[in-house]
Amino acid sequence: MRLKLQLTSLRETTPMEYAKRFLFGGLVTVLASLVAEKWGPIVGGLFLAFPGIFPASISLVEKHKIQREAAESKYGIVAARREASVEAAGASAGAFGLFAFALVVWKAAGNHPLGLVLPLAMSGWLAVACLCWLIREKL
């Protein structure tokens, strides 16, 4: 298996799709802060890990795969759903990383500056997510 950056995949996303991602991302962030304002940090904190834009992301993966297959005159629905499933499996590895991120914030935010806590938490997210991804690939 080779890791690579595929720049051509950026062209598959239309300006409208980029705009929708921005809009959804902004709305979900605002929603999470409104929940915290209304019900406090214990309920609000749950929504820091809410998969709000995940349905839109995964359906884009499916749509782009169908378009690629159609360009080769293939019927690509089954392949597209398999690819979306693989993307979701990757997201479950990312969610383990999200757990590590939250753990660092919980344990360190009270006695360290956020400028240190956030980079540390991000490193924890990336390390755990990649480790889980690697384990899954080896199985």
Binding site: L3, G25, S33, V43, L48, F50, A93, G94
Partner: protein
Amino acid sequence: MPDLLLRFVIGGAVVSLFAVVGDLLKPESLGGIFAAAPTIALASLALTMKRHGADYVELEGRSMLVGAIAFVLYASAVSFILMRFRAKAMATSALLLVVWLGTAAGLWAVWLRR
């Protein structure tokens, strides 16, 4: 209101950035980890710290643990259903949000609410 607007702009930008990185990375399963990046937390924790202080952020971090456990179950369920039944991605991932909500609510009731 300016605070919410700022959160909207930062949230939109952070989500877009991680989505682009996820699009670029192949294989898809590796790109998929960016679909579960801590985008909402990154977009809002600095503003929350400034407004409410460290104790509040700590509590949010502890609750986020529960949200993350719910996300693991949710993403695994979506992956399984798509692979097993070849269901439509949007419908499956939207309907299965009940898995996230149910898990988060259940763990909140048994752990966080005390």
